[in-house]
Amino acid sequence: MSAVERHRNILDFTLASLMRRKGKNSALIVVYTLVVFVLASALFFTQAIRREAGLVLTDAPELVVQRLVAGRHDLIPTAYLEKIRDIRGVTGARSRLWGYYYDATVGANYTLEVPLEAPPPEGSVIVGEGLARTSGAAVDSLMPFRTTRGEITTFAVSKILPSDSSLVSADLVLLSEKDFREMFGVDRAHATDLAVTVRNKKEIPVIARKIAEALPDTRTISRDEILRTYDAVFSWRGGIMLALLAGAVLAFVIFAWDRAAGLSAEERKEIGILKAIGWETSDVLLMKFWEGVAVSLTAFLLGIVAAYVHVFFASAGLFEPVLKGWSVLYPRFRLVPFIDFPQVAALFFLTVVPYTVATVIPSWRAATVDPDAVMRG
């Protein structure tokens, strides 16, 4: 005789009991699963995309200097590099060349960039995995581009980037400085922006201020500022999602509460029978506890798995209109699976625990009644 056997016996009976009301319980599990699925999808999506944004920025320079003309981003003279290097605390400053290119045949935007380290040889490009997929480009195939002069120029694909982080590399085209300048008509005295590295991160605001003083037609953007912007954008989008879902969640809570909290006459009688044949109040509560756990845990696990598949394998198709939607993100990109366990635990406590409690409490009231009630039919 053991406590484990007691739990096992009672759990067996609970499962047999649940099977008796197959239709009702299945309907409940389906609705419950759907709610967990939607909540978990929103959670996984925002977490994963924020993480990707963080990954993108790990290699980013501490400061980016851009030139503004009439409040808009413009090409920056490379002569500014010297002035920046003269500022104390700056360990390096390099010019960057990057831009966007709209491919009308595929209907997608590409990000063209000259890598600071190991650029591809002239006449060739390295492309992202997403871009290769949509345009059908393969290694050694030729990719046509239209230059700013209206001519068509072709580049040989020398390599396809591995997809460590699809978000970063999906739409990327890496090319040599010469090819970039020729294609976009950017002369050698200008660059897209300047990347600045500093010795001490605490000095970033001071250096940013000094740059602004020395070069009044520029603005500086720190890595932390970009991170904060990403964070705010995704929190806001996630928030909008949850606000839209709040109504559905509330309806489910009412439904689940009614289902779990309201004992039918049959269930009440059954509790009476169990008490009369020798079950303690605690045994009845244990049974109801297992019932609540079985229903809510099943729904929770199904919902979480479905959400995982939806977000990481099906590109969160259902949420695309709300959660995605700026030019950097592309219709078919796959997020790198990432789960924030504290958040999943929070979801667990917000779904499984309340339902289980809602199942146990009314039964506790019924289970404390004298068992002789059952003798009276």
Partner: protein, 228 residues
């Protein structure tokens, strides 16, 4: 032995619908005998059975089980006594629908934490004793009245109780099945069980194996004596 001393049971005490179901009853139930509580509907037989079986507490008076006072034991201890000492056969059988005959028989023993295989063997033995082994995998709602009762009896015996308490056991049975039930009672008596039944069925009351008939009316004992 169960010893009731000056027992009174009042329902809804202090309310306008206050009702005294059992009035100052003293009764000793001797072990290994068949005792029948006889009386019309509403006479207090079922309440008296509930008190004998620790299903409810008396409003006043004392109850002793095998010399130990159990009147004011906490619910947990009373449940334990109920499970180990008594087997109940209810008038409506009170089988749990939707699960099998075998599971119904095993049900009272689930909280004891006994191994499932051991429980299963014991339940099958009991079902065999009452010629119900072939129905073990059937759902209880498919059973006839007589079959349901045999399952209810097997369930009452799963924890091997010393006392079997039956409330109007033949109320839903025809004459042949009632006689069959009394044969089972004889078997139980032969196995040394103490049997207490509430009934006003002549088939039960006139049966030779009944050792004692206690007549109850309006919550009080009217007559008490050996079966004649």
């Amino acid at each position: 032995m169960i010893d009731l001393q000056d027992i009174q049971k009042t329902f809804n005490k202090g309310r306008p619908n206050e009702y005294v179901a059992v009035r100052r009853v003293s009764l000793k139930v001797e072990p290994q005998l068949v005792t029948v509580l006889k009386g019309p509907s509403g006479s207090g037989k079922t309440t008296l059975l509930s008190l004998l079986g620790c299903m409810t507490r008396p409003t006043s008076g004392r109850i002793f089980l095998d010399g130990r006072e159990i009147t004011s034991l906490p619910e947990r201890f009373l449940t334990e006594i109920r499970r180990r000492t008594y087997g109940f056969i209810f008038q409506q059988f009170n089988l749990v629908k939707g699960i099998t005959v075998l599971e119904n028989v095993m049900l009272p023993a689930y909280p004891t934490g006994e191994r499932r295989a051991v429980l299963r063997d014991r339940a099958m033995e009991l079902l065999e004793l009452f010629s119900m082994a072939h129905k073990a995998p059937s759902k209880v709602e498919w059973l006839s009245g007589g079959e349901s009762q045999r399952v209810a009896i097997a369930r009452a015996l799963i924890n091997d109780p010393g006392y079997v308490i039956a409330d109007e056991p033949t109320a839903h049975l025809d004459t042949a099945l009632s006689r069959e039930f009394m044969e089972i009672v004889a078997t139980l008596k032969g196995r040394g069980k103490t049997i207490v039944m509430a009934s006003h069925d002549p088939i039960v009351c006139s049966e030779g194996l009944v050792d004692r008939i206690v007549e109850v009316r309006d919550g009080s004992l009217v007559s008490d004596g050996p079966h004649r």
